[in-house]
Symmetry: C2
Subunit: 486 residues, 2 copies
């Protein structure tokens, strides 16, 4: 494919993207293919000869699109939203044009510097403590996902804790034994990435129980830590969540800060989904807890219109991260900027060495929307969720909303005049019919035995009309299900 053919196919692809977003509303949101569908229609081997673009493009339409679950649809209310935007797509196009591998400063200074700058920008916009800023001993870095942010901060915390024992004079073998006693904590609502991080790092982990609102409380943390210390374990890391995946619950961060005061436990705040809301004044009250933590993470690919992947991690003392993750720089990577400590080498802030130029898409999105536009997007999403909430609240005989609705997530279930078991069955039936219908996509969860349907709008294309549609659909299906269950 030469330059002129690329120009032609590039224009066509831009047009295809425009058409996709114009028609997106008409697609069935959830793909209905059966496992193995694609293998049946694709060749078994790499073609020996080049194939023309027309053939590839036509396969996208006939073979790929049927297998797509349309995350950008205005009728996608599943999981948590992960929405993109046009400036973000343009940012990726520029990133692909350069295709630099920004492992260290010298490998493309703009890649590292723009990342540090836009993370400082975002930190200020949120209102993070200046200690999270790159000017001092901290800084921000883009991770692929919140999972990686949790893993790398856990490793930084382990490094810091083992340093303490090293300072006491313990040698390598003794430190190995110490490391088998390290224990990390989250709540029974913390994202499973924490458990996964402890499996990877080979430390202990315990999920602590939450209160009636599914929040982790300081008192619980205090008790469990004391118990573990008495049993010879070494608590070193705790994750507090702002906006859990199940129900958008908020852990009691300031109480957790008090509970771990005087210890060497690292507090990481996972605000993967809800953190975006902190750009709005009405959520700034959450900063009191966040700003006492050691690290903080939010996914711009969840709430702030930036293509996946784009998880923003801030850390107060970058030295622990860097020490935990840097190996001696091999000779083939040595350069004067690294040697003099002038350039940031982000390879030492993350699991992989190589990295893409992801700061471009953040920069394009922030500037195209402005802080104002980003806040409007967050508030619009939350308002749409509130509309949904208020609508179903009008049918107390049909729907129960058992929890506060935070950050644009509404969890509800179907009321049963009989037992709660029946309520679970009804909720499951309504859930299945909603998604079989094809017009919308929602996901379910289970909380303390109770089936729930989750509703989380996020697409910039979603407007009041879509809320009215799903409410009507939900109402009809629920009434049908109750009628046949009687």
């Amino acid at each position: 494919m030469d330059i002129e053919e690329f120009r032609k196919r590039g224009y066509e692809t831009v047009d295809r993207i425009c058409k996709y977003y114009q028609e997106l509303e008409n697609y069935e949101v959830l793909s209905k293919v059966e496992p193995g569908y694609l293998k049946k229609v694709l060749p078994k081997e790499v073609p020996e000869e080049p194939e023309p673009w027309e053939k590839i493009q036509s396969d996208i339409e006939t073979k790929i699109i049927p297998g797509i679950t349309h995350w950008q649809s205005p009728n996608f209310f599943a999981f948590y939203p992960a929405n993109s935007s046009f400036p973000s797509i343009l940012g990726d196009m520029y990133s692909d044009m350069f295709n630099v591998i920004g492992f260290n400063w010298a490998s493309s200074p703009a890649c590292t510097e723009l990342e540090s700058i836009v993370l400082d920008w975002m930190g200020k916009l949120i209102g993070l403590d200046p200690n999270f800023h790159s000017d001092g001993r901290g800084g921000g870095v883009i991770q692929g996902t919140a999972s990686e942010a949790t893993l790398v901060t856990l490793l930084a915390a382990r490094y810091r804790m083992l340093e303490e024992y090293k300072a006491k004079g313990l040698d390598g073998e003794e430190l190995r034994t110490i490391s088998t006693r390290l224990i990390a904590y989250g709540s029974d609502q913390t994202h499973p990435c924490l458990n996964k991080a402890t499996m990877i790092a080979n430390t202990r982990f315990r999920a602590l129980p939450t209160d009636n609102n599914f929040s982790l409380c300081g008192e619980t943390v205090k008790q469990e830590i004391e118990k573990d210390i008495a049993n010879g374990l070494i608590p070193f890391f705790i994750v507090g969540t702002i906006g859990t995946t199940n129900s958008a619950a908020i852990d009691k961060i300031t109480d957790i800060v008090d509970a771990i005061k005087g210890t060497n436990i690292w507090l990481h705040i996972d605000a993967a989904y809800a953190g975006s809301a902190l750009i709005c004044s009405e959520y700034k009250y959450l900063l009191e807890g966040i700003n006492q933590a050691n690290s903080f993470d939010l996914n711009m690919h969840k709430g702030l219109l930036t293509n996946f992947d784009c998880s923003c991690l801030w850390i107060k003392e970058r030295k622990y991260l860097i020490n935990a993750l840097s190996t001696a720089s091999p000779d083939f990577l040595k350069n004067s900027a690294s040697k003099d400590g002038l350039g940031l080498d982000f390879k030492d802030w993350q699991i992989p060495f190589g990295r893409r130029f992801r700061a471009l898409k953040i920069w394009f999105v922030i500037r195209t929307y402005g802080a104002k536009g980003l806040r409007e997007h967050i508030r619009k999403r939350h308002n749409l969720a509130k509309q949904f909430y208020n609508k179903i609240l009008q049918y107390p005989d049909l729907f129960i909303i058992p929890l506060p609705s935070n950050f644009g997530l509404v969890n509800f279930y179907i009321k049963s005049s009989n037992s709660s078991k029946n309520s679970n069955k009804l909720t499951e039936m309504v859930y299945n019919r909603l998604n079989e219908n094809g017009k919308v996509y929602l996901t379910q969860t289970k909380m303390r035995g109770q089936n729930m349907i989750r509703f989380a709008p996020g697409s910039p294309l979603t407007i009041e009309r879509h809320i009215n549609q799903i409410c009507e659909l939900l109402l009809n299906i629920t009434q049908e299900v109750i009628a046949i269950s009687l």
Copy 2:
């Protein structure tokens, strides 16, 4: 930015990409900015109001491009090449259009299925043992980088080894103690990602010495393992490299296979750079060793014209990977395909949960070039390196090429009539002047005390003319340097 503005800006961006590749040859390859350059010219905060695209676009030209080291330039001979292509850029555009988060099968079946299919295609094209194919107990998966492939296979190996002890009846606490005795091996030439993986996973690591060609030999492995076992350690993982980063050395894989026979040690082959060459018949002899390994990884983003990131990992027994990396699926991710085991859930094959639709770019590249075109690209690169090799071979008084030139990499240094210390100094001076010149970019390394300049062509834009240019430049600079050093 509405659909019509995106269409306009999308076309412009396509044009910009065309212009970039048209003019790329004229850019200074290595960025000359000073650390901190960008901070001085960018605002300190997020703009409150939206900014027009023209302003963003103009900042790319004036502020970003000066800070880019041009990895796609025909005069980029540094590190190992990481080249893209137009169909790969189009693949990313489609991936960004859908912006699906393919953590499990149901979240977008096409994303998981196409990935499994194109990895099977590539495996067949290379000639991998059928046990690496997804039909049986194995399969392929895209990782971000070879670092992540090394880490996840190390975790699979640890899982497998601890299972053996579990089967002997050891409990959780005993397994913790066992895990402190686990040791992983590479050579003193293995990429530092292995050391990093052992730091993350908290296992021991030792770099074993290599022979005169910088290859790891079976005898060394055998001796070291026996010594460690005698000392109470538990060898569980070894990386054999095909094409080391320093000098493209090839470890003696079949001998290593013999050395670990009868043990439960997992052999992972890191062919991040050189693995691409296996699509050519002249490299198939390497398969004998590879096909006896437990896992194998190559970076399509290095040699096969696919945008970073795209590291392809094949594994013979996926159950170890999945068991090492899967947590109980939380309720919000449960779906019938996962429950019935019909759909692959790639979140359990990698560190993060979320993932992009990267198979599209592989699919586009493979089909646009055909197997034939990909082989031509590899051979053209290797031939260009051979031309360079042959040219500098004509000046035995100036240049020494101390090692076999594998896979399109040529390492050389400047000959000195005096001591080897002087040779190091001369090599350093030539290296600095080459890069200061701005027309080309190479990197250096140090091997057993000897400074070397690395030459690795990769851009599809590089043709014989560029080889002649760099040879002439190198010759002139070397003669100058020698003249002033006399």
